[in-house]
């Protein structure tokens, strides 16, 4: 990928300023460059992954101004002045986020490509609803695809992060809830 050397004028690579994980960052890149590519190539924040590149798989999910977004669908100019949180911003002072610990403990991550997006989608859910049920967890993660886990361990990981002291109970009872949720239809789409 080009890093601006293809740009025909300075106008094509304006300085775009935004806040990433609490730090002010400036990127001199073409305005149509995808936020995903700016994060990975220009800011070297490679935690955010590219899966489908068309907003279907959720691997590139980050939070922008408090909303979950697919960074592959955002021209970086639209991130001017925005607050962005990537998976690198979840852990604080070397201490893993409760979601990250739960994913480790409950087998929520296998190959790892979907994991950053899953974590960001789950973090978004917990910020809006600190005590989601399994139906809410499933809807919140419906835009994130995983081809390893079969999803159940991911849902269990999020459920365990919600209620850590009952982690093993959550794991056991979640399976039952998952069956119920599937019959009821968790998200009307």
């Amino acid at each position: 990928m080009s890093k601006g050397e293809d740009a025909t004028s300075s106008e094509r690579s304006p300085a775009i300023t935004f806040n990433v994980n609490g730090e002010v960052r400036i990127a001199n890149v073409p305005p149509m460059k995808r936020l995903l590519d700016v994060l990975r190539e220009d800011l070297h924040l490679t935690g955010t992954k590219e899966g489908c590149g068309e907003g279907e798989c959720g691997s590139c999910s980050v939070r922008m101004n408090g909303e979950l977004v697919n960074s592959c669908l955002i021209p970086v100019l639209q991130a001017e002045g925005a607050d962005i949180q990537t998976v690198e911003g979840l852990a604080l002072d070397g201490e893993l986020h409760p979601l990250q610990r739960a994913f480790l403990e409950h087998g929520g991550a296998q190959c790892g490509i979907c994991t950053p997006g899953m974590l960001m989608a789950a973090a978004q859910l917990l910020e809006q609803d600190p005590h989601p049920g399994i139906v809410q967890i499933r809807e919140a993660l419906a835009g994130n695809l995983c081809r390893c886990t079969g999803f159940i361990r991911i849902f269990e990981s999020v459920a365990a992060a919600v209620n850590p002291e009952n982690a093993h109970l959550a794991t056991e009872s979640t399976s039952g809830h998952l069956r119920d949720a599937r019959e009821e239809g968790p998200h009307a789409r």
Binding site: M1, S2, G4, D6, A7, T8, R12, V29, P30, P31, M32, K33, R34, D37, G53, E54, G55, E56, G58, S61, E67, L68, V69, N70, C72, L73, I74, P75, L77, Q78, E80, A121, Q124, E139, A140, A142, G143, N144, G185, P186, H187, A188, R189
Partner: protein, 292 residues
Amino acid sequence: MRGNAATHDLVAPGELGAVLELLAAEPGVWTPIAGGTELMVAFAAGRLTARKLVNLWGIPDLRTIQVTPQSVVIGATATFLDLRRHAVIASDLPLLAKAASWIGSIANQGRATLGGNLVNGSPAADSSPALLAYDAEIEFISVRGRRRIPYSEFHTAYKCNCLAPDELIYSIHVPRRFAQHIQYLRKVGTRRAMAIAKVALGATALLEKGVIREIRLGAASLAAFPLRLLQTEAALLSQAVTPDTIKSARRALLAEMKPIDDIRSTAEYRQRVAANLLDEFLLQLRREGSQS
């Protein structure tokens, strides 16, 4: 072939007036982009033909939802999450709230805009059947002023609409007078999450002493663009919901729909499912009508 950011320009004039000036100065040259859930997919795949884009995301005048006694006026770049979170849309326009929940994932819903869904003009657009059933109007804006047209006249052919090159959608006006109507919306797709409609049907109808006094039917994926089913409505208007009426409505529906075979489904399947959805709505109408 991947898209190359250096070969596309994107400008952000910021103010709505400045965007309209740009569109007026060079009509047809600039392509508006808001949430990017359609254009950025084309860009990434290297098939975005538009080389000059103008940003609408973040322009406050366009991202509004205003409630008047008569209608809910939704700004063109209100997102589907904005619609889902709005109390009056949830209470007065439940079909629109439901349609908003169908759009992609949460991440898509936070970026995809109602105006973008309409301008993109997919025959399968999730918001269209509800807007047709609610008799929505579209308001356009340009440096020349504003004008309003019924949404049912907006789409003119596959991915074509009646916006002039210097115009934007400004807002979508949805009347609030459907509280007494029996309402219906159902989408049939491959799976619940993230699937594009094989068929969707939206409907509102008002019964008076068992007779249909008002009816509006809107459909997705039954023609080259989202379609109001005027012939089917005509077969039902001023009729009681009897087995004979249901049969003649079914005939009218099959006559006016123009489904195609594509990667998502076949014309034959779409005919069957559309007729079944209409049946389902009419049976609901008969059941609820007999209770009132």
